[in-house]
């Protein structure tokens, strides 16, 4: 009688016919070892699993029902132990066979050409002006500066008068202002927002103001009627010109590179006194021999100064108590310098080919 046949018969009967549990399980184990004596394909692995572990008709289900469950009470511990041992080994072998088969199947799959490109996924570009802005804000935020934008449509008062422009002064003409029908105007610089902040908040103040500004300039490679300005200012009881120098030196080193040096040149702005223009050592050449610095070794990058006492007074602050500094520059120009852009009008055409360089 085959061992398969024996699994279908109650163990009591088999014992009465002279079998004993050890011997029965021994035969069964021998049959299992024969089944998996050779490496199995995935299909054979599945067949092995069905034959031995199948829920309804598997051999181990049969022994569970006919041998273990039907065993006389005194034999149950022995049969139970033998059944468990065999089941454990069968399960391990089936699992190993399945894994081996899966491995073989993966190995049989064709190799990929890993040099083919992945299908294109679009990731949007950040506009270079915005990119420059983010870099600047990342420098000033840790220094305690808040950020504001302010309105672009301004009054003559905020854009000029409050900033100490004498109403009848050539400096107003130099601004090439675009006016609205009712006498309001498009701000020519971000400074009016300085006044608005000083009017509504109390020192100590540290602010970066940025946004669009407008000039009645015919567009060309270096002029655009709309561009972006950024201005930073600080007002407190003991801010000095030395603090202005230190702050801007830190800023240009961080933005243009650690070797960059700043040179402060006296200049004139109606809203600052003393006023200075800042030149930086050319980041593009070391010997003053490149087109960008026009062979001078210096590039003029920003204007700054101590806020004029009249401006503080116009904004409702007592200049006997408070003083501060302010500095401003064109973000477009900074972006052009940093990213090697030679035409400001590229900034405003929306040309995808231009923009995608900044992804």
């Amino acid at each position: 009688m085959s061992i398969e046949h024996k699994t279908g018969r109650p163990i009591g009967e088999l014992i009465r016919e002279g079998e004993d549990p050890e011997q029965l399980y021994g035969e069964l184990r021998a049959a299992f070892e024969r089944d998996c004596s050779e490496a199995l394909t995935a299909q054979q692995g599945q067949a092995l699993r069905d034959r031995w572990l199948g829920r309804r008709s598997g051999l181990l289900s049969a022994t569970n029902d006919h041998w273990l469950k039907a065993a006389p009470r005194e034999l149950k511990p022995v049969v139970g132990k033998l059944q468990n041992l065999l089941r454990r080994d069968v399960e391990a072998a089936v699992k190993a066979a399945a894994e081996a088969a899966a491995r073989e199947q993966v190995q049989a799959e064709p190799e990929l050409d890993t040099t083919l490109p992945g299908p294109g996924r679009a990731y949007g570009a950040v506009h270079p002006v915005r990119l420059a802005l983010e870099e600047v804000l990342d420098i000033f935020r840790p220094l305690g500066y808040s950020v504001a934008e302010g309105p672009e449509i301004e009054t003559f008062f905020y854009n000029f008068e409050a900033l100490n422009f004498p109403p009848d002064h050539p400096a107003v003409d130099e601004m090439d202002t675009l006016f609205l029908e009712d006498g309001a105007l498009l701000r020519t610089h971000t400074s009016p927002c300085q006044i608005r902040i000083m009017e509504s908040e109390s020192p100590p103040l540290r602010y970066v103001v940025h946004g669009k500004v407008y000039r009645n300039d015919t567009p060309d490679a270096t002029h655009s009627p709309m561009f972006h300005q950024l201005e930073m200012f600080a007002v407190d009881e003991s801010i000095t010109f030395g603090d202005l120098k230190g702050t801007l030196e830190h800023f240009v080193r961080r933005f243009f590179g650690p070797q960059t040096q700043a040179r402060f040149r006296p200049s004139f702005f109606p809203f600052t006194e003393p006023s200075a223009e800042v030149d930086i050592t050319c980041p593009f050449c070391s010997d003053g021999a490149c087109r960008i610095c026009k062979q001078t070794g210096f590039i003029e990058v920003l204007g700054c100064g101590m806020i004029d006492p009249n401006v503080l007074r116009n904004a409702g602050l007592d200049p006997e108590r408070y003083q501060g500094f302010a500095a401003g520059f064109g973000l477009d120009r900074f972006a052009m310098l940093k990213y090697n852009i030679d035409d400001i009008l590229l900034m405003y055409q929306g040309d995808s080919r231009f923009l995608r360089q900044f992804r």
């Binding site: 083919l116 992945g118 299908p119 294109g120 996924r121 679009a122 990731y123 949007g124 570009a125 950040v126 915005r130 305690g144 808040s146 950020v147 309105p151 672009e152 449509i153 009848d168 050539p170 130099e174 675009l178 006016f179 609205l180 309001a184 498009l186 908040e201 540290r206 407008y214 567009p219 009627p225 709309m226 407190d236 003991s238 000095t240 010109f241 030395g242 603090d243 120098k245 230190g246 702050t247 040179r263 402060f264 040149r265 006296p266 004139f268 006194e273 003393p274 200075a276 223009e277 101590m306 004029d308 006492p309 405003y348 055409q349 929306g350 040309d351 995808s352 080919r353 923009l355 992804r359």
Partner: protein
Amino acid sequence: MRILLSWLRDFVEIKESPRELADALTMAGMAVDAVESEAGETVFEFDITSNRPDAMNHFGMAREVAAIYRRPLRAPSTACAESGPPAASKASVAIQDPDGCVRYVGRVFTDVEARPSPDWMRRRLELCGIRSINNLADLTNYVLLEIGQPTHAFDLDRLAGAAIVVRRARHGETLVTLDGEERDLTDGHLTICDAERPVALAGVMGGQASEITAETRNVLLEAAWFRPSVIRNAARGFKLFTEASHRFERGADWNAAPRAADRIAALLARTGLGRVLPGQVDCFPQQPRLSLIRLERTHIRRHLGIQVDDAEVEGILSALGFEPSSDKSGWSVPAVSHRLDVERGIDLIEEVARIHGFANIPATLPLVGAAPEPTPQAAEDARMRAAVRGLGYDETIGFAFISSDEAGRFGSDDPVSLRNPLSQLWDVMRNSAVPTMVRALEWNLRRNQPFVRLAEFGRVYRRSEASYEEPGVLTLGATGTARQASWAEPAREVGFYDIKADIAVLLAPFLANAPSIVTEGVPTYYRKKHAAGLRSDGELLAWFGELDPELARERKIRQPVWVAEIFLDKVYGKGLRRPTHGKLAKVPAVSRDFSLLVPDAIDFASITEAVGEMPDLDSVEPAEVFRGKNVPDGSYSLLLRVWWQRLDESLTDEEVNEFAAELRSRLQSRLGITTRT
């Protein structure tokens, strides 16, 4: 402004090389743009700021040099041999408008010969870019370049009554200026008149009738001080900008007027080109009051962060022509007529700082005394920008100007017009950002870009009750393929539902519940029935859809173009939704498919509305939408996939069957739709 090294040396000793001198002046605020060598002469090209008219001449620049190096300054010589009757007996001067004309100095020359100027003078003029004309014109130009005082020469014999009267013009008076133009004058114009009529537009240009000619023998020379605002208004009114008006409107020096007159007299006498009558006719009704400026020692440190030695302060101010007198706490410094820009202590501090050298002020960092204010809506903006970028839109920035025609077609508010626009295409501030985006899409299509996705964060502009509003708007533009075609994936044209899906992603961080779709009132620049809006809590958040094909064709756009406007003030105003964690289901959801034949008039929103609320209902999805073969005209076939979910336990088949039956009956009773399976 061109300045000659040799001319500077007339007034101050210079040992430095031209390059060294240029650097030193630049670092003191006199920016040298170029140092040139011409015909053995060194020429500096200066860019002088508008607050420093005093330095726009050789003597003024020499004063800067003298201050920088603390060297003595020599004034131009005015020693002059005079002869004949006193000038005052040959000409008279009267000022009737002492506010417009503070001082008028006349000098009289006789026996003047029209001859070329000496070579050395012509050479200097030419190096400074001024063509030699005749001796008198050259002399006035020379002194203008030398000490910055504009002067004017009249043919004395052509002045009625040999008189000068400085007065406002009378209504109806006219003047033919030297350029041959006849000017209509009003009482706003300050004029130089003879006994009868205007002979010059004060401080701007002389008149033809009293012009110096080859026949001129007797000359009245004018050196005056006119109020800057008066000159500025006249120059602007006539669009007549001359060397003289340039100087006067920036502020000349009333004490330089007599010196200039004497200097011209001296040079005339020296060159032997005429006779100088003794004395000036100096009309100076009232010397303007100059303030006494207070400079506190502590204020220097307070503003600059350093203490400057008293001797250095006094040395600098004296070299610049001030006369400081010191006391315990600082200095009293009378203002001077050659530096009208210096009127406060802070102005003196700036003078000390720039001559002492900005480079000698050590750099420090201010202490941070306050926490920064959070920027309103910064977090909202950062989230939106990151999402836009992730969806593959390239950020663009467009001009804020559009044409009034565009404003009429795209905007609902009256546009804000510019009084002096750059061009007719840019004559208003945009009341919609769509035309800006359409222009950018058009730009790319003309350059054969197959895949265009643009996003602009900008503003639109409109009038409000009190002033103006500039609400933020995010504009999206898309055309061409939905994704770049590759070997792995075929191309697909972008469509309405791509844009709708993108907007859903962009709005999700701000909305607790899905927004409702708006199909009424869609702006007409969108294609009818190919566009919609989104609303949440009664606020319109976005319009999106295909650009009206007619409008597109007018712009030579021959393919569908998709745009969206997301009103950022409304969206950001909602704030970022605070996410909260709910329970996760322990068992999988169960779905049933329903095959429906739906009349075209019933849209998907009506179907979800008809399904309505139901216990354990998770979602209702359109799994397939199909028109055409085997589907009768006027209907579409919809495969509706509905999911149910109970968090803690599995739904039984019986329960789901009941739900499905209820759903079928609702579709039947509410919409008359029979399910096919």
